[in-house]
């Protein structure tokens, strides 16, 4: 048994075989042979063994996944996320289905776990989940409602579906044929469900008795939409066909592309089976069944069931035409024909057992409601404890990544609505975005953010309507306090936000200030306007979240463009004007570009004033107005009045702007306080930490500035350049020269000869007494450009006159840079100089 290569230098060991197996596995089958021949170096035995193993690999994985799925399937009494398993409902080709209790929404659901090996093919899985989500968006009385498509902690996809009392048609068929009238009534309802799905371009692909639920209330519901494709993926080899091929259409059996007419064929098979008790195409094995489907005519219905009318027999024959073009063109056409079978369309007789079960269900339901009510009463008391709240990013269940802006917009709106609740601190959106798609447990998130409760939810889009589901979960003990579901036309999506926010507010026993205010958007604006508005908010958020300034200008411009469009479409919409004012004041200030400032500060003011004219309670408009007033017009009293009004209306969002105002006004102690308040609402924000540190430094508290940044650095994955350079500045403030120089030298290496960091390094050298090194660096910087940072350097080198001249120059070119100057080290060092006092007066800053 020694291979011909056995005499070679190194025999191939098991480890090498594993590696070769893995590599070959990843290749296209055609490429494998050559690869193995080469890699096995003529060892034919090993090559054959690997070849044989590879031939079994795909089936093997499926086999183990299936077997393991049955070993580690969730068992009664266990919890998967917020679902508690109550028992098995049955098992089918797709695995076991469980009855479970949704502890968040307090309802019973059916849980279906998709095969775990799907996770091994991420792309296919993603594509299929998108399809399943599209199917989940389908809401129709004859289609089983899918509540959620989720993943278990170990990455196994599952569906949470509505749980219906009743039985499947397959179970019903087990008791014998179905009377023609009842069979038609069932087919009619199935066809209605199919019509609704087909209208959205969703093909079921697996219509069969096991997927048709006869509910106790007489309705018929189709299960497992969009899942047939998932099942296809699991077909790893031609030998492994699904168990139920009897309902496949000829085109499906051939592997041809499918359209809605495949579902009509399958429904024909189901109808035939209901009427006769046997399937129209049979055979001793799969191949024989497929041959019959492709080539044989079904035995005459009339002969098998004489009481079936010729009309109905004709309908079934037409459904079972081999050529899709000869079948009904649509489920709607079929419905017309089924309706005309006349007296046969009897209703499904409610079975006595169902009625009894229904009664029991009602009683159980009443009991549940009573329990839920008493719980709610109890929680109402506890809920007062909610003082700090975080709104988790909403889950986008629309199945369309392009809808992200819509979902994000809703999230933003929810946060700002919640922020209006007096006495409630709401964590800002920026700190929340890292939790997008997070599976972290509630208590952990709550601890990280220091909140008592979390609001979480999902957005579902179905055609022209939107469904928002929200749950309020208390963190410790983890308890579900409240849940609500809102379903509206897209036209009212914004009004819906206010409604959700107010409902939550009631649930936590707080009164929103917007109960009477018009700010809750009762105004009806067109869908286009809403769309533009939400897109505008989306881009504004993107800017806030960007960790660096890259692409900022384009992002703000895009945001402003969408908001301009919203305003043009809905000229009386205060909220849109207010957001536009914000976009403009950012454009004016963010880029430090004097031309932009001259153009956009007035625009921002105009937009803000227009918003306030329409609705005095638009907090954002007051804030933007205040920003323009102090930053551009130097109207310090007016600015403070506006910003304080914004704070009064919405204490959560505008602390930051007030802090900036205070900093610019030289009220550094107060600025620190307000930055700290902004931070409690936005605990994870790097920008706020940065600015708080800045305020500390301006307030002469360098040590606290250093502490703040050191803490921030521990939170971040790596140390950004600005953090190093700020840290260095504060080290210098505190006369900690070695630390400062260490940071700056790293920085100078990190960002190769960046003027800013070099200037700081030079002034650090100077401050540390290394004047020669400082001068050499200064020469390099000045040769490149007259940097803003140079004055500190001149000062450090003892040339006060030139330092002051540089400041005058800089402020002459860009008066808006004063805010930075005012809070800089150099200002503190030079504030007593008469020429600096002059500048301050000239620029109309309070001294």
């Amino acid at each position: 048994m020694t291979g011909s290569g056995g005499g070679g230098p190194e025999p191939i060991d098991r480890d090498t075989m594993e590696v070769l197996f893995e590599r070959a596995r990843a290749m296209q089958p055609e490429a494998r042979a050559a690869f193995l021949a080469e890699a096995c170096r003529g060892d034919r035995r090993i090559q054959r063994e690997l070849d044989s193993l590879l031939a079994h690999a795909a089936e093997a994985e499926g086999f183990f996944a299936r077997l393991a799925g049955s070993l580690v399937s969730p068992t009664v009494g266990h919890s998967m996320g917020h679902y508690r398993i109550l028992g098995a409902l049955g098992s089918g080709g797709m695995g076991t289905v469980y009855r479970a209790h949704d502890t968040r929404l307090d309802r019973e659901v059916a849980l279906k776990f998709l095969p775990p090996h799907l996770s091994a093919q991420p792309e296919a899985r993603e594509r299929l989940l998108v399809e399943a989500r599209a199917a989940a968006a389908l809401e129709h009385p004859n289609v089983c409602t899918i509540h959620e498509i989720g993943e278990t902690a170990d990455g196994r996809p599952f569906l949470a579906m509505a749980c219906y009392a009743g039985e499947t048609l397959s179970q019903r068929l087990g008791r014998g044929v179905v009377p023609p009238g009842e069979a038609v009534a069932i087919a009619v309802q199935v066809a209605r469900g199919l019509a609704a799905a087909h209208a959205r371009g969703i093909v079921h692909r697996d219509v069969k008795p096991g997927n048709i639920m006869l509910c106790a209330d007489g309705t018929v519901r189709l299960l497992d939409f969009g899942l047939a494709k998932l099942q296809d993926v699991t077909l790893t080899s031609p030998g492994a066909r699904p168990g139920t091929i009897a309902y496949m259409s000829p085109e499906q059996a051939r592997g041809d592309p499918l359209d809605r007419r495949t579902d009509l064929w399958s429904l024909g098979v189901v109808l035939y089976e209901m009427l006769t008790g046997v399937r129209p195409f049979r055979g001793g094995n799969d191949q024989a069944v497929i041959l019959a489907i492709l080539h044989e005519q079904p035995p005459s219905l009339a002969r098998a069931r004489p009481e079936v009318s010729e009309r109905l027999a004709q309908t079934v024959r037409r459904l079972l035409r081999k050529d899709p073009a000869e079948r009904y063109g649509s489920a709607v056409d079929l419905l017309a024909d089924l309706a005309s079978t006349g007296g046969e369309t009897a209703a499904i007789p409610p079975r006595s057992t169902s009625r009894i079960r229904g009664g029991i269900l009602l009683a159980a339901l009443a009991a549940l409601i009573a329990v839920a009510w008493s719980l709610a009463q109890r929680h109402a008391g506890d809920a007062r404890e909610v003082r700090r709240l975080a709104v988790l990013p909403l889950a986008n269940l629309t199945g369309d990544p392009r809808r992200e802006y819509f979902v994000d917009g809703l999230h933003d709106a929810l946060i700002s609505e919640m922020s209006r609740i007096p006495g409630l601190v709401v964590i800002s959106r920026q700190s929340m975005m890292r939790y997008r798609g997070s599976t972290e447990p509630v208590p952990l998130i709550a601890r990280a953010l220091g909140v008592d409760a979390l609001l979480e939810g999902s957005v579902f889009l179905a055609g022209d309507s939107v469904r928002i589901t929200v749950q309020l979960v208390r963190a410790e003990p983890e308890e579900h306090l409240w849940a609500g579901s809102y379903h509206r036309g897209l036209e009212n999506a914004l009004a819906l936000q206010g409604e959700v926010a107010r409902a939550v507010a009631r649930a936590i026993h707080a009164r929103t200030t917007s109960d009477t205010a018009s700010g809750a958007t009762p105004l009806l604006v067109s869908r286009e306007a809403q769309d533009a508005y939400l897109k505008g908010l989306f881009y504004q958020e993107r800017l806030i979240q960007a960790s660096d300034g890259s692409g900022a200008r384009a992002t703000i411009r895009t945001a402003a463009g969408w908001l301009e469009k919203a305003v043009a479409l809905a000229p009386d919409w205060a909220a849109a004007h207010a957001r536009l004012a914000r976009a403009y004041h950012w454009l004016a200030s963010y880029m430090q570009d004097p031309r932009l400032a001259d153009e956009y500060y007035p625009k921002s003011k105009a937009a803000a004033l227009r918003a306030l004219e329409l609705d005095e309670s638009e907090a954002q408009a007051h804030a933007s107005l205040g920003f323009v007033l102090f930053n551009h017009e130097r109207d310090w009293t007016g600015a403070e009045r506006s910003i304080r009004r914004a704070l009064e209306l919405d204490p959560n969002s505008h602390q930051w702007i007030y802090a900036l105002y205070l900093l610019a006004a030289g009220r550094t102690g107060e600025a620190v306080e307000h930055f700290r308040q902004a931070q409690t609402r936005n605990p994870l924000s790097a920008i706020i930490s940065q600015q708080l540190a800045w305020a500390y430094a301006c307030d002469g508290r360098a040590d606290e500035a250093i502490r703040e940044l050191t803490e921030l650095r521990a939170r971040l994955d790596d140390t950004p350049g600005w953090l190093r350079s700020n840290l260095a500045t504060y080290y210098l403030e505190g006369s900690k020269y070695p630390e400062a120089i260490a940071q700056l030298e790293t920085l100078a290496v990190m960002v190769d000869s960046d003027a800013q960091s070099l200037a700081e390094l030079a002034s650090a050298y100077a401050d540390a007494g290394r004047k020669d090194a400082a001068r050499r660096l200064l020469a390099r910087i000045v040769a490149r450009d007259g940097s803003w940072y140079a004055p500190e350097l001149y000062l450090a080198l003892g040339d006060t006159g030139r330092a002051i001249a540089t400041v005058e120059d800089a402020l002459e070119t860009n008066p808006n840079a004063f805010l930075h100057f005012r809070c800089s080290t150099i200002h503190r060092k030079l504030s007593a100089e008469p020429r600096i006092r002059d500048i301050v007066r000239r620029l109309r800053y309070p001294s």
Binding site: F21, H56, A60, G62, F63, R66, L71, V76, S91
Partner: protein, 201 residues
């Protein structure tokens, strides 16, 4: 009456971590007993038709046996490895008993179509998992002659429900090695199982 266990389990886990392989054999009966008792209780509570949630069982057993004294994460991995072996025995014993009950005391070999039925998409209603498990156990014994490490990987991954990382930790190899071994072992076992069944025909 099991008061002595937590301490001794802790002790043995430390030994195991220190590289004392004999501790594995000492631990096995303790862990087997605990898991078996818990599995029995679970089976009495619920319909015998229900499958065991091995992962939950093993975790609960761990908390009972070793959880009192804030054990190390590494200890948990080693415990899981012992539990995987114990779980294999328990599950195979159950499967054998259930096969016997179904077939009136006679053990039956699996038919080829039953192997195929267990493939994804196959019709699950045949309920041949027990037979398949018994056949898998026999295939695993054969694999053990060829590749000891792959056998351990299958035990940890399949019967112990362990992650790749945990498996790598207890076997003292890299996660990549576990992944490769797991993939090849599955192909080997599946082929062996099919061959065994085909020979029987």
């Amino acid at each position: 009456m099991r008061d002595a266990h937590p301490r001794s389990v802790d002790h043995l886990l430390r030994e195991l971590r220190a590289g004392n392989g004999a501790a594995f054999d000492e631990l096995l009966p303790l862990v087997y007993d605990e898991l078996h008792r818990m599995a029995e209780r679970q089976r009495q509570r619920w319909d015998g038709d229900d499958t065991l949630n091995t992962t939950a069982l093993v975790n609960e057993a761990y908390l009972r046996l070793a959880g009192q004294s804030a054990p190390e994460w590494r200890d948990r991995a080693h415990f899981l490895a012992v539990a995987a072996t114990a779980m294999r025995q328990i599950l195979i014993d159950y499967a054998k008993r259930r096969c016997a009950a179904k077939r009136g005391g006679r053990q039956r070999r699996v038919a080829l179509h039953e192997v195929e039925f267990a493939l994804p998409g196959g019709d699950d209603r045949s309920g041949v998992h027990e037979e398949l498990l018994v056949a898998l156990d026999q295939a695993l014994r054969r694999l053990d002659q060829v590749d000891r490490r792959q056998t351990r990987i299958v035990e940890c991954r399949f019967f112990g429900g362990m992650t790749i990382e945990d498996t790598a930790e207890v076997l003292g190899v890299s996660p990549a090695t576990v992944k490769r071994g797991w993939a090849m072992a599955q192909a080997w076992l599946y082929r062996d199982l099919r061959q065994a069944v085909e020979e029987e025909l």
